[in-house]
């Protein structure tokens, strides 16, 4: 199913592994060179920046090529039919197959651009078809068909090109499909929906965990699936999501202090799941579980803040900021010498971002964007407004 040369994929992993060992000073340069020569990789891949550049240029190329074709055909009525977009999509896909098979593009930017363009065009074809047809279906048929197509396309592209983002898209489409299907045909959809999604997400997670051991070619995709299924598993039982989505789907207006059935269960879920994730993540040393848990702690806090007034925003900010500083500083001190297999040291000094000092850019992005002084009155001591951050609240 996978389009890439499997031997090369294996060699790629070996090369990466050995480069890491080289960076950790466990391997000298000659040995690394010998390994690289012994396990060659014939793919054409780009680093991050060239990938973005090639993506942009390829998108320019395809859009003007299709624009040209449309110009030529502009006098015929061909362009109005959904078939035209499907045709363009297939054309794009053929170009993709050629780029990958003949020219061995692997995550180079060209293949990414062609893949997404072709998927979007095929989807547009279905959308135009549904939009133009004379007869209407009841319920969520349109949504079902669109999410169904996204799911099928996403799954196909994931399996064939092992693309991580495609895996994410097809997972989301699958959840949307289940959501709409159960809403139209399900058994008491209003009350059973959260539990159904919870069960499905949990099933996917455990299934993906099993696959992870066998299918090394799809490692990135499976990691992504683990991450989103964990987030979905949480979101399906989160108090805010259940309450707001449930009431808006059923067009019920809830009073601000009105509770929902099984409210206690959803509150419990909202607060326990993040900590369970973090706990299991630390125990199994699973980065995905751990990071999902950390993100979800924030989500839990926002949910609480939405329904219960704990304290004013600034007090919460100061208190939690101080708490975070304290905890992270304490942990760093505690783990200065590795304990129980944990460490704070940066293990792999990965230079994949072209030595881009990402952090410095982030800092300049958040702080450097001060109010532009009007000409003639250069006010303000520099680029950071201090208390000026209040305007956000």
């Amino acid at each position: 199913m996978i389009i890439y040369n499997i031997t090369w994929l294996k060699h790629l992993i070996i090369q990466d592994q050995m480069k890491k060992a080289h960076r950790a000073n466990n391997l000298n340069a000659e040995e690394l060179q010998a390994v690289l020569e012994k396990y060659p990789v014939g793919f054409h891949s780009s680093n991050l920046f060239l990938r973005i550049g090639l993506f942009l240029v390829t998108t320019t190329l395809t859009s003007f090529a299709f624009g040209f074709l449309s110009l030529v055909l502009s006098n015929t009525r061909l362009m109005e039919s959904p078939g035209y977009f499907a045709f363009l999509g297939v054309l794009c896909y053929i170009a993709l197959e050629i780029a990958v098979r003949t020219f061995h593009h692997y995550k180079s930017g060209v293949d990414d651009a062609l893949m997404w363009t072709s998927g979007m065009l095929l989807l547009t074809a279905l959308y135009i078809f549904l939009d133009k047809r004379a007869f209407g279906f009841k319920g969520y048929i349109d949504e079902l068909m669109l999410s169904g197509l996204v799911m099928l396309l996403g799954t196909y592209f994931t399996l064939r090109f092992a693309n991580m983002v495609m895996a994410l898209v097809s997972f989301c489409a699958f959840i949307a499909f289940i959501f709409f299907a159960w809403n139209s045909y399900g058994f008491y959809p209003f009350s059973t929906m959260p539990f159904l999604i919870i069960i499905i997400a949990a099933t996917i997670y455990s299934f993906v965990l099993k696959l992870d051991k066998k299918h090394w070619m799809y490692k990135d995709c499976l990691g992504m699936l683990q991450f989103v299924s964990l987030l979905t598993l949480y979101a399906a039982g989160n108090y805010f999501v259940v309450r707001e989505l449930g009431s808006s789907m059923n067009k019920v207006v809830l009073a601000p202090d009105q509770d929902i059935p099984f409210g206690w269960f959803f509150w419990l879920w909202t607060f326990c799941i993040p900590f369970i994730y973090i706990g299991i993540g630390l125990k199994r040393k699973d980065v995905i579980l751990l990071r999902a848990g950390l993100i979800l702690v924030a989500a839990a806090c926002f949910t609480l803040k939405r329904y219960h007034h704990v304290a004013s925003i600034e007090v919460v900010l100061v208190a939690s900021g101080a708490l975070l500083l304290g905890i992270s500083y304490g942990l760093m001190r505690y783990l200065e010498t590795p304990k129980y297999g944990f460490t704070v040291a940066e293990l792999d000094d990965d230079h994949m971002l072209d030595n881009l000092k990402v952090e410095s850019l982030i800092v300049s992005g958040t702080f450097g964007d001060g109010p532009t002084p009007p000409e003639g009155s250069r006010m303000g001591g520099g680029s950071f407004g201090g208390g000026g951050a209040t305007s956000d609240f």
């Binding site: 950790a24 704070v344 410095s360 001060g370 002084p373 680029s383 201090g386």
Partner: protein, 327 residues
Amino acid sequence: MIPDDLYKTLKDNGTISSGSFEKMTEKQRSPLFSLHWELKTLLYLGVMMLSCGSGILIYKNIDTIGHQAILAFIAAICGGCFYYCFRNKKPFSRELIKAPDVLFDYLLLLGCLSFLTFTGYLQYQYQVFGTHYGMATFIPMVVLFYVAYEFDHLGVLSMAIANLAVWMGVSVTPNRLLSNANFDNQTLIYTYLLLGLILLLAGFFSERFSFKKHFRFSYFHFGIHISFIALVFAYFNNYDSGMAIIWLLILFALAFYLYLDALHHKSFYFMLLVILYSYAAVSILVFRSLDGMSNMGGLYLLCLYFIISAAALILRIIRLNKQIKAS
């Protein structure tokens, strides 16, 4: 993930020495789990929340606290941070210095931010610098540049560059540059251009005299964006006169020099920036020359131009990629 016997295979066929084999298997046997990024993110969030929260707190209670107390408080934070940093810093060197611990970077950042707030507050409330606004921005800039070099902090360097731009009368973050679109002012464009060239020169000299060589990246990053955008806008500003083309010629000359430089340094990022900016400039020229044809022919030609040029560009970038990797 790794084939279990990979190391053994490599050792058996003589690709790696037994010493390296020992080291790698040893590492594999006792894998460490790093919480580095998680803790660093938490620390960053903590600093952000704390400074935001205290900002709001002060803002809301300004009537009861009084300005002197607030100033003293900010000065205390600033002083505390710099005290810690001076106590723990490593001696100055012209090369890269690694921070002694993770906290160091963040405290330095907090110190600089509170210093900026302090001077801003002083000026706003008491007009210490009177109407010498240049002075009010010049002093923080000098301090920031000094701190950036003394403690070797790239984030502070970016802040210092932003402050330099404020001092020169413009704001510097790239997205801001485009969205403000306040470019009809002739002097503003020349100021931008001058700023961009100064930054490029600074980057060039950092490397030439090997004085904090790694700062070159930040200088070039800001310098390239600013000078190219300024040149393109200078062209549009003089669009109606025939002299406008001179600006684009300067752009191409600069692009050519930076292109060779990026090739020499094997920097994909700068290479890409130069290529995309000059492609945009060429496209502007082509668009202008085809603009005269008002019939469909112009549109066809434009499409053809983009198809051919984009294809050529793709091939060129791919070739470059191979070239850089091979060297």
